[in-house]
Amino acid sequence: MMRRIALTLLIIMLASGARPAAAERLVVSLSNHRVAINSNFVGEELVLFGTIEPDAGKTGLRSAYDLVVTVSGPRETLRTRRKQRVLGIWVNVDSREFVRVPSYLAILSNRPVAQVANPDTLRRLQIGLGNFLLPQRIGPDIADTVGDDPFRRAFVRLQVQQGLYHEIAAAVTFLTPTVFRAAIPLPADVPTGNYAFDVKLFADGAMVARTNAALDVTKAGIEQYVADAARDHGLLYGFATMLMALLTGWIASVVFKRD
């Protein structure tokens, strides 16, 4: 019953254009859906292209849009440690575990996110490094802390220094009012796994459309072979490395044998 009413309402809205004739649809595509890390990988810049299209049956588009792309890499648990001087030497005394946080996180927009929407909206949609949910293990609970928690600040700062977390206010460029491109920097030590792209379109401080894309980062060729062997066949891998060492040593003593 309820469903039928809702459906009817929707049809009426669509047919009569009860709202302004603007309803957008996002169409995006990545320059590459799979990034292969091989022996000469030194990092890469990925490009996401997209257009803003009027929704079926609609024609009107607004004059100005904002676009925010959130890229999050495979989740991992990390520990942030703090050093303190104990008996004259610097020792890790305190630590906090960040549970299932993205190993890579990029928040890319066409202008500073603070100008895109009001703080409440940004927090609700987790836009910006300060608003993205980074759960910590605090005693038995797992929760995100306030933005100015020293461990959270240090964690984000270190990840930014490592090139793993980004907040770039000029990474999205509008080629025409409706065609955009976003540049995604992948560092040389980019974690392998699945990357989720969350593309949000804003107009006048409100989200009007949203879409997703995905990317796979994998080791390829010899890199993958070695990494898999080390993880899955530790004993065999260890013996192989040891034999390699003995062979290298033996070859050298044969090559350099003079007397």
Partner: protein
């Protein structure tokens, strides 16, 4: 030319790593040591995580000590019986070391433990070597024989039971200090990613009175086996041995070691010991400096687990 390291998960310049292997190999050939105490800090300095550096350097030392051991074997300057007994204890020590390494890593205190071990061992051993070799140099200046004096050929160590005779080295000692030395070397090697040659050689000379002729060859066999087994154990328990990194290091290392050995043979013994002592002491001071001076960043991140 950059190459991506599959376990360290980072690209490095292949020529830089090859050069590091050559340089450390040269020093190790010159002094008859593995050179791990130089290589591990160098790798950490270029950004390899301490755990991967320690695990990968083990195989590099295995390679360079194998070259050395073959050379000494051909010259019959190697006491296999003594080496084998040291080894039995060395493997036990390595296993204990790898276990402690894993435990400390879980407790976030691995970096501290590695740092403290380096400072203590390197400054003490380096200091003692400098003291001993400076005295030897002074004696040589005054026209006295510069060889190490061996006051009173018997110490309390020789009073211990379970005596064993080692023919090639011409010594008759208790098995207890032999096992203790082997265990310490294996243990320290696994924790610090060093072969322990710079520790073993003085220990064999001063405690067991092993003659200089067989000491380096014997030390190399021990280093070879402890480091080879450390490679396997690190690969099994921590999955942190980077075979690509190890290969580049060992190729540079074995070549450098051959040239270093030639330079070393042309130098006078006491000067060689003084130089090595200074080097060991300097590396120790550098580690002490790092522990005492406030780090640039008080915070650091450690990987716990993936999905």
């Amino acid at each position: 030319m950059q190459i991506y390291l599959p376990i360290a998960d980072m690209p490095v310049n292949i020529f830089l790593v090859l050069g590091m292997g050559l340089a450390v190999g040269y020093i190790s050939g010159m002094f008859g040591i593995g050179g791990g105490f130089l290589m591990t800090p160098l790798l950490i300095f270029i950004g390899v995580s301490p755990a991967v550096a320690v695990a990968s350097v083990a195989s590099h030392i295995a390679a360079s000590s194998f070259t050395g051991a073959i050379t000494y074997w051909n010259r019959r300057a190697l006491d296999l019986a003594l080496a084998l007994m040291l080894l039995g204890a060395g493997i036990l020590g390595t296993a204990t070391g790898v276990w402690l390494f894993t435990t400390l890593r879980a407790l976030d205190q691995l970096d501290l433990m590695i740092g403290l071990s380096y400072v203590t061992l390197l400054t003490v051993v380096g200091g003692l070597m400098i003291y001993e070799s400076v005295r030897a140099v002074m004696r040589a200046r005054h026209g006295l024989p510069a060889t190490i004096r061996r006051p009173g050929s018997h110490t309390w160590l020789h009073g211990l039971p379970f005596k064993v005779r080692f023919k090639r080295s011409k010594i008759y000692v208790s098995a207890i200090p032999v096992w203790a030395i082997g265990f310490i070397i294996g243990f320290v090697g696994a924790i610090m990613g060093i072969g322990g040659g710079f520790l073993l050689v003085p220990m064999l000379i001063y405690f067991l009175r092993v003659p200089t002729a067989t000491v380096i060859g014997t030390s190399m066999v021990l280093t070879l086996v402890t480091m080879a087994s450390a490679t396997v154990m690190h690969a099994v328990t921590n999955h942190l041995v980077d075979a690509v990194l190890a290969l580049i290091l060992m190729v540079g290392g074995v070549v450098g070691a051959q040239f270093g050995a030639r330079t070393g043979q042309r130098m006078r013994g006491e000067w060689l010991r003084l130089l090595l002592g200074l080097l060991v002491f300097a590396v120790g001071l550098r580690f002490a400096f790092e522990l005492v001076v406030q780090p640039d960043d008080l915070y650091s991140i450690r990987y716990v687990r993936g999905e």
